[in-house]
């Protein structure tokens, strides 16, 4: 029983990080119908920048989360303005290829900046917290808490603020939004920036748990795609619920049937959703 609860909690905590990553990715997809392959590099840059700040310059961890999130957010904003915006009206394959190419360039840029070695944040939230008979990871608790707060803030921003409403308007009815006087291009910059901000924060939060290197993005971005297929393409809430589901399936499944089958199970889940419920749990479906 203790093991079962511990696994469940561990899965949910892991899912929190996936949520931060997937929500940003899904936001970008929701607004622009652009699948951002470079999202993994937002994450790895976030993690490596975080390591540089915390280990290299002694910046406190939570401050590093804020600084890096802003920096990667700005990076996302610039990437949208300089690259993605130019193909956003083209066929989807154009933006797909563009973000894929950008991802490759970023990986190699990262190798030039940080080198190929694996980095970590030794001593940062590395211990455990005893909760009754359970032992929970400090790093995961911190990451989960920050992730939930941040996704919550972004959700509130989308729901309440003028900008947020404009983002949703462009996401749901782009033509009507444009004729209503919303500057769709600016909204797209903002969305990409917001996606980058969330991925950057996720990167720093991951750094105390996982080995960071410029090629780590690929290890996580695939999971983010699984999350949004299960949760629903373009749905912010769906990405959050999907992420928690994937986290639990990964950890509990790994315990019950081994990681090889648990990983297969994740993709089986993805295929099942694509075939039986392509809109996912909360998806917006295909825009016609």
């Amino acid at each position: 029983m203790r093991t079962a609860i511990e696994l469940l909690v561990n899965g949910v905590l892991l899912g929190g990080i996936y949520a931060l990553m997937a929500c940003g990715l899904n936001l970008i997809f929701g607004v622009m119908r652009v699948i951002n392959f470079a999202h993994g590099e937002f994450l790895s840059f976030g993690a490596l920048l975080g390591v540089s700040l915390v280990i290299g310059f002694g910046v406190p961890f939570l401050l590093a989360v804020v600084l890096v999130a802003v920096a990667i957010g700005l990076f996302g904003f610039l990437m949208q303005a300089a690259l993605v915006e130019r193909v956003v009206d083209g066929p989807p394959i154009m933006s797909l290829l563009l973000t894929y190419s950008a991802s490759t360039v970023f990986v190699n840029g990262g190798l030039l900046i940080w080198g190929g070695g694996y980095q970590g944040m030794p001593g940062v939230f590395s211990g455990s917290v005893s909760l009754g008979p359970m032992n929970l990871s400090q790093a995961r608790l911190v990451a989960f808490t920050v992730a939930v707060v941040l996704t919550g803030l972004v959700y509130a921003f989308l729901a309440k603020s003028m900008f947020g409403k404009a983002i949703r308007a462009v996401s749901e009815q782009p033509e009507i939004a444009t004729v209503s006087g919303i500057a769709a291009a600016q909204i797209r910059y903002l969305t990409f920036g917001l996606g980058g901000l969330m991925a950057g924060a996720a990167g720093v939060l991951l750094a105390p748990m996982f080995a960071s290197d410029p090629q780590m993005g690929a290890r996580f971005v695939i999971k983010a795609f699984t999350v949004i297929v299960v949760g629903g393409l373009g749905s912010y809430v769906g990405a959050f619920v999907g992420a928690l589901t994937i986290g639990v399936v990964e950890v509990v499944g790994g315990y019950l049937v081994g990681q090889t089958f648990a990983t297969a199970l994740l993709y089986f889940l993805m295929i099942a959703f694509l075939l039986l419920r392509p809109s996912g749990l909360f998806g917006v479906g295909i825009r016609r």
């Binding site: 899965g11 066929p91 190929g116 970590g120 030794p122 400090q138 790093a139 748990m209 080995a211 081994g258």
Partner: protein
């Protein structure tokens, strides 16, 4: 309007490809013409060593060290006057950590670049496919980075292993465990050929030392979360946890063990013997055991001088990946000198009979070309450094067992 522009660009695709081919062929023709008209070859035509290696992809981080081993040797050999009185150069291609690409590049090195000598790619998968190509062309290949036994179980005659075969990586765990009176083990590993070899070795050695195998689990590449295996180990309480794979997995395992306050009496991972592990886990690295093939403190022939030169050039202490590249080149150098020519059949005969020692350790192979002389080491991180704790006659420290639990550090 815009859509049409995209279609137009898409529509020109075929024409572009054809044009590209034509340009490429023209370039090739020009190159051939140039080569033919180049006149008499310089008296000192360099000896070229072909080496496909992972400069990008998931093996690139590790292979970068191998490459530095090549580069250091290249400087030295040319300083010694080259090979057979000719300067030496490398023709290196990036196999992108992909075995099929490695095979294609090997074909290109042999048939198009017409290299004189070959060194294998880094890793078992690439070495398997590349050596099938070199074997077809009856070219000798030095197997510097393919530790799986399967490479040498195909009846090949031109592949010679410098790296220690996988089973010997784990050998030392058993005498150490037996000395400490340990009785049970779990094996949790990345799923790749080397790990399957290691499982066989464990199944062979564990019963001989009275150790029970309680769990054997494989995880796919790119697994980052080990919570499920840690939970299972907590239930079945093994004395020893053995893993084989790449450094990030060692980093993630030890971090996640600490984060859930779990630790076996003995944690062993080959990744522990890489510098990245120490850097990324800091104090949590302490007491972890590593399977290693080489340490800078090893009393092998020429090792102190090698370590000095390597540190001077690259500003860090060499790990075993660097040694694979360096020792592979040294063995090739010695074999070519002994043979006195680049005749591949004679070179193969020399390599089969050769018995020598490099800073990496001894070299000798059996009739399949598999390494028989060079065994593994077990190291333990003590006070921030890797100390050799097995073989007992080469130890630089006594093993601390059991590893102290997280709460009492």
């Amino acid at each position: 309007m815009r859509t049409r522009r995209w279609q137009r660009i898409g529509g020109t695709g075929r024409g572009f490809t054809r044009g590209g081919q034509a340009a490429w062929l023209a370039g090739l023709a020009a190159a051939v013409a140039l080569a033919a008209g180049a006149g008499p070859v310089a008296a000192q035509k360099p000896i070229t060593i072909g080496a496909p290696i992972a400069l990008t992809g998931n093996l690139a981080d590790s292979a970068a060290h191998v490459r530095r081993g090549y580069d250091l040797w290249l400087e030295e050999v040319n300083g010694r006057g080259g090979l057979l009185g000719r300067p030496v150069q490398f023709q290196i291609y990036d196999d992108r950590s992909d075995a099929a690409t490695a095979a294609r590049l090997t074909e290109r090195l042999i048939t198009s670049d017409k290299v004189d000598l070959l060194i294998s790619p880094f890793g078992t998968a690439g070495t398997s496919t590349a050596s099938a190509v070199s074997e077809k062309h009856k070219m000798v290949m030095i197997n510097a980075g393919g530790a799986s036994e399967s490479i040498h179980q195909r009846g090949f005659k031109y592949i010679f292993q410098v790296v220690t075969p996988v089973p010997y990586y784990v050998e030392g765990v058993f005498p150490l465990a037996a000395k400490a009176g340990y009785k049970s083990l779990v094996f949790v590993s990345r799923d790749y050929a080397a790990a399957r070899d290691m499982e066989k070795a464990i199944r062979n050695w564990a019963p001989q030392h009275g150790i029970e195998i309680r769990m054997v689990e494989y995880f796919p590449a790119a697994t980052t979360d080990f919570a499920s295996y840690i939970a299972r180990a907590r239930d079945i309480k093994p004395d020893i946890w053995v893993s084989v794979g790449y450094p990030p997995e060692a980093i993630e395992m030890i971090r996640q063990m600490k984060a859930t306050n779990y630790l076996p009496k003995m944690f062993v991972h080959n990744g522990v013997s890489q510098e990245d592990f120490l850097k990324a886990t800091g104090k949590d690295a302490e007491y972890a055991f590593g399977m290693s093939l080489y340490e800078p403190s090893l009393p092998t022939k020429g090792n102190p001088e090698f370590v000095k030169r390597f540190k001077a050039k690259y500003n860090y202490e060499p790990g075993y990946y660097a040694l694979l590249g360096y020792a592979g080149c040294l063995i090739l150098e010695e074999a070519v000198r002994k043979t006195g020519s680049l005749d591949q059949d004679k070179l193969a005969a020399t390599l089969r009979a050769l018995q020598t020692e490099t800073p990496f350790g001894p070299y000798a192979v059996n009739e399949t070309g598999a390494q028989t002389a060079k065994k593994g080491l077990i190291v333990q991180v003590l006070k921030g450094h890797r100390e050799i704790v097995w073989p007992f006659n080469q130890k630089t420290a006594d093993a601390v067992l059991p590893m102290p639990p997280w709460t009492s550090r």
